[in-house]
Symmetry: C2
Subunit: 333 residues, 2 copies
């Protein structure tokens, strides 16, 4: 039996829950969970906000652990390897996107929290391709949040060929945003943090933000002018998107990685003048997760986390719901 | 005195109007107008819809004509050359965008219809850089609409590196849309026309559209699936943009060149799944206008136009307002 923490109904507190693991499929591996980050998407899964949750819901998709079992065809890992598992726990391997290494565009992805029981558990299984080795240079105790929060903000760097000459803005400094600051600073970019939490200012400077700007103060934002090549929004609230478009350079983009449920409203004129774009992206492909972990190893980047024991999981979730975690909660057994 | 047709007040019928031409600035040239297309933006200028119009308003910015005067420093053209003039009649020549050949991103562009008297006239003046030679292979009698309508839909081809393997959709088949079909077909793309005018179907097939789909019939659009690399919207009405995003491939884009005044509403989820973009662009740079004219010469592309004499200008505008022109009206003296 696998020990796990599950929501038994929409939005409920998590309870100890045991389940019989299914047999490994040929391409799957089994991972002994050492730690697991808590992402806002886990809370959405617990709360059933996206209409996809089944209960008992075992969330958790920022897993670091050790390979303890291999399916009959699994050949990418060996028992004892330290690995990470993120949002996707499997791909079809039979579509043009999988063929091209863009597994995260596959229309038949399995999800660690929706397609199976997730990482708030002693053990989790996944398609070996979705499981990524953790390089030695990465601090594995804090690394969990890289597997979802990290790759989500790293992906735009790769997708849009961002380099040191680009000016980057990050809206919302939490689990995703604080990693975005670290990544884009490590790349050499000028990085501006847009946030409304004054109490984070000292932390933001330590993370490397070149400037800190209120995300709702038009009198501060408007005068900046069209300076940013890329602004990444990690928030799930409505902001004045036309205002942010006004500080984006020609050919620049406002990129959404935060799952805002409210519609995005923009004017065509805000886009047309400077051939600007609005876009969004989901987590990242296995190859880009590897790239990110190597980048973290090279630049000594770790998420800034607060550690909780798994039996404190409800306290951790409650603190996260109240926006009091700096910047990501990580659970360990 | 220059003879012109002007709106004397918001939305009024045009009247004969004479004005004293200003002296040519050193970098300007003077053009004898042979023909001028009528664009929807001219109607917006006449109607004062964008709040930028001054009266008497001489609109007209799809000019074909002959150089008849050169400013003291003008060296790019010679008297007698056949040239075209579009939306922009001048640039600052002193910003990073002008330096980079992206004059259309210059924040100090002059506009043929707003910064001066435009092309519904015997004569018009402009910065020599904004004036483009018409190659011999281009049918100059019909070419006016290329200078605004044409470059507007040609620009995305250059900006987004579109090639023959891309599938392109065009929403709205009028002055811009019919040229888009011709351009992207000439490039070798699969081109779908989204329109609501059944009476255009024969014409659209003649233009080269591979398929014709109602732009508002969800039951026709939804089943297409994520197939399009680029969809260009040339309309200025609200459509179900999330529906169009659903038929765009990963990394594809929904691109606006029609000046929709209503806000564009989209959901972040429509963008995130496939790293999709929404974008917009304005006309084009001088270098891209040259590229387009060469492309037209090579592929024997002409706008499909209805000719009117300048003294029929009010009839032409009225026909255009009633969406009865196939597909662009061109005025000649």
């Amino acid at each position: 039996m696998v020990k796990a923490y599950a929501a038994m109904s929409k939005g409920s507190k998590l309870e100890l829950f045991e389940y019989e693991p299914e047999d490994l499929k040929p391409n799957q591996v089994s991972i002994k969970v050492e730690s697991c980050g808590i992402c806002h998407s886990d809370i959405s899964a617990i709360d059933g906000s996206w209409g996809k949750s089944k209960y008992p819901m075992v969330a958790g998709h920022e897993v670091i652990g050790e390979i303890i079992g291999l399916g009959s065809d699994a050949s990418l890992h060996k028992v004892g390897d330290r690995v990470g598992l993120g949002w996707h726990s499997g791909y079809c391997h039979n579509c043009e996107h999988c063929d091209a290494g863009d597994h995260n565009f596959c229309s038949a992805t399995q999800k660690t929290v929706f397609s199976q029981h997730g990482g708030f558990a002693e053990q989790v299984t996944a398609d070996e391709v979705s499981v990524i080795p953790i390089p030695n240079g990465v601090n594995h105790q804090d690394a969990g949040p890289l597997l979802c929060g990290g790759i989500t903000v790293f992906t735009p760097m790769v997708e849009f060929n961002i380099n040191k000459d680009h000016r980057v803005g990050i809206i919302g400094i939490g689990g995703l945003g604080h990693l975005a600051i670290k990544f884009y600073k490590a790349l050499g970019c000028h990085v501006s943090a847009f946030t409304n939490s004054d109490d984070k200012n000292d932390l933001l400077s330590k993370l490397g933000a070149d400037e800190i700007i209120s995300s709702t103060d038009k009198s501060m934002i408007k005068p900046i002018g069209a300076k940013f090549d890329l602004i990444i929004s990690t928030v799930n609230v409505e902001l004045d998107w036309n205002l942010f478009l006004s500080i984006i350079r020609p050919r620049g983009r406002l990129h959404f990685v935060g799952a805002v449920l409210a519609p995005i409203e923009t004017s065509v004129f805000s886009l047309m003048g400077g051939r600007k774009s609005i876009s969004g992206s989901p987590v990242g492909s296995p190859v880009n997760i590897k790239k990110m972990l190597d980048f973290c190893s090279e630049h000594k980047i770790s998420p800034m986390v607060e550690h909780f024991k798994f039996n404190e999981i409800n306290d951790a979730i409650s603190k996260l719901r109240n926006n009091k975690v700096r910047f990501r909660a990580v659970l360990t057994w």
